[in-house]
């Protein structure tokens, strides 16, 4: 920006070209002329000219509050929601935290991580063994890796789950949100929403259009991002399957740790039984909680 008394003020020719450039293309000859001018002066002057033009626009539109339609507003809000979701995935992916392919780390921190993971796996394995002893295995029971939370009932949606979800939706403190499908092939045609009660720490994920999975190969896992915790470690909210005839799946959500501030919900594809930390290679749906 040029200060008053600057030794090299822009000349009229430069101003003319910069003003024209604001609103239309320069001819090749004009562009060459502009390229040959003092770059330092030109860049400062270009910003000033643009600011002045924007200020004139502001003066002309001051106080105009008209907005076209609720439909357009919804489209704009949806763009923001999608962008926030994608940013979150990108940010999470940058940490590359996956127990399948951990990134190189120092021996001490790796040892600590594996010790923590082993403790969690052992604890969960204990839960699995006791479950298997007390009940016969089902098609939805994790086959190789223990799950973090008990898998909910698969399809068809039991009437009781739909009723419980409806009851939760009616609570004034319930948090409601839509989840957006990602670009993952498994997410094609998926739509989902979630409701979460911060008081009872219960919730439901309703998801439509998710491809049936083979629980021997992979399972779906729900996650809750708690704003009060490290965002690299979302809380598992349940592992679930989608059967061949499932138009709609309702999944009960429950985290083993208290969710203080539910910030976002996600669904990933993970190894059978679920994982402690999401690999995030296959995020199929993600949605942020909006407030206000």
């Amino acid at each position: 920006m040029s200060e008053p008394g600057s030794p090299t003020p822009p000349d009229a020719a430069m101003l003319d070209l910069l003003i024209k450039q604001l609103t239309e293309d320069l001819s090749p000859e004009e562009q060459r002329t502009l390229d040959g001018m003092d770059r330092a002066v030109m860049s400062a002057c270009a910003l000033d000219v643009e600011r002045a033009a924007a200020a004139i626009s502001l003066a002309a539109t001051a106080g105009l509050r008209e907005f076209p339609s609720q439909t357009l507003r919804s489209r704009i809000e949806q763009d923001a929601s999608t962008l926030f979701a994608e940013s979150q995935i990108t940010a999470l992916k940058s940490f590359e935290l996956t127990p399948v392919r951990p990134r190189p780390r120092s021996r001490a921190s790796a040892a600590g991580w594996y010790a923590a993971a082993a403790c969690l796996l052992l604890a969960a394995f204990g839960w699995l063994r006791s479950s298997q002893l007390s009940a016969p295995p089902t098609a939805n029971m994790p086959s190789t890796v223990p799950s973090i939370a008990p898998p909910p009932s698969p399809t068809p949606v039991p009437p009781k789950l739909a009723e419980e979800r409806a009851a939760l939706l009616a609570l004034p403190q319930a948090v409601r949100l839509n989840l957006n499908a990602t670009k993952d092939p498994a997410a094609a045609g998926v739509s989902a929403d979630a409701v979460w009660d911060p008081v009872t720490q219960r919730g439901f994920l309703r998801i439509v259009g998710l491809k049936p999975n083979d629980p021997r190969i992979e399972q779906y896992q729900a996650w809750i991002f708690d704003a009060s915790r490290d965002q690299r470690y979302p809380l598992s909210a349940g592992v679930f399957d989608v059967g061949g005839n499932s138009a709609e799946v309702i999944v009960p959500l429950h985290a083993d740790l208290p969710v203080r501030v539910a910030k976002a919900f996600a669904v990933t594809v993970e190894a059978p039984g679920g994982v402690v930390v999401p690999a995030l290679h296959h995020v199929v749906a993600l949605g942020a909680v909006t407030t206000g």
Partner: protein, 183 residues
Amino acid sequence: MSLLKRIAGGDSAAVRECIDQYGGLVWSLARRLSRTPADAEDATQEIFLALWRNAGRFDEAKGSEKLFVAMLARRRLFDRLRKTRSEPPMDSSTEILESVEWPDPGARSEASIEAEQAKRALQQLRPEHRQVLELGLLHGLTQSEIAARLNMPLGTVKSFMRRGIARVREVMNIEQYAGRADV
């Protein structure tokens, strides 16, 4: 904290506030600089998407948030105009260039300091200078189109635009540096 800073920090609640705050501004710019209402809607959506993506670039030391939004909106709108200029012109009977009423920004609490500065600078210009600025900056006519519409030599159009912009620029810079000196 500014709305854009909040959005850059991931505060999704700020999105609605931002649409409330700047929706009217963006829509009124888009409506003037688009060929049809449908184009204006697409442009408005595109501008807000760019705003979400660039929220982190807002620097309050360089101007108000409203000025940042207006600059970003104008860039997008003129980029779209450049692309459509190669298309056949619209039927002239449907092309309405509303005359700008230049509302008094000083009377509105939500007006930005830059709008007030621009208004003061424009009041010092002759009406024909303001008219050239309106047609170019607010309605997106090229300088040749302005010359033809006003039956004015192209050199005169350039000169009027230069004087108008220079005057606004001068007022903005003088007050900016005067403001810094007061601090």
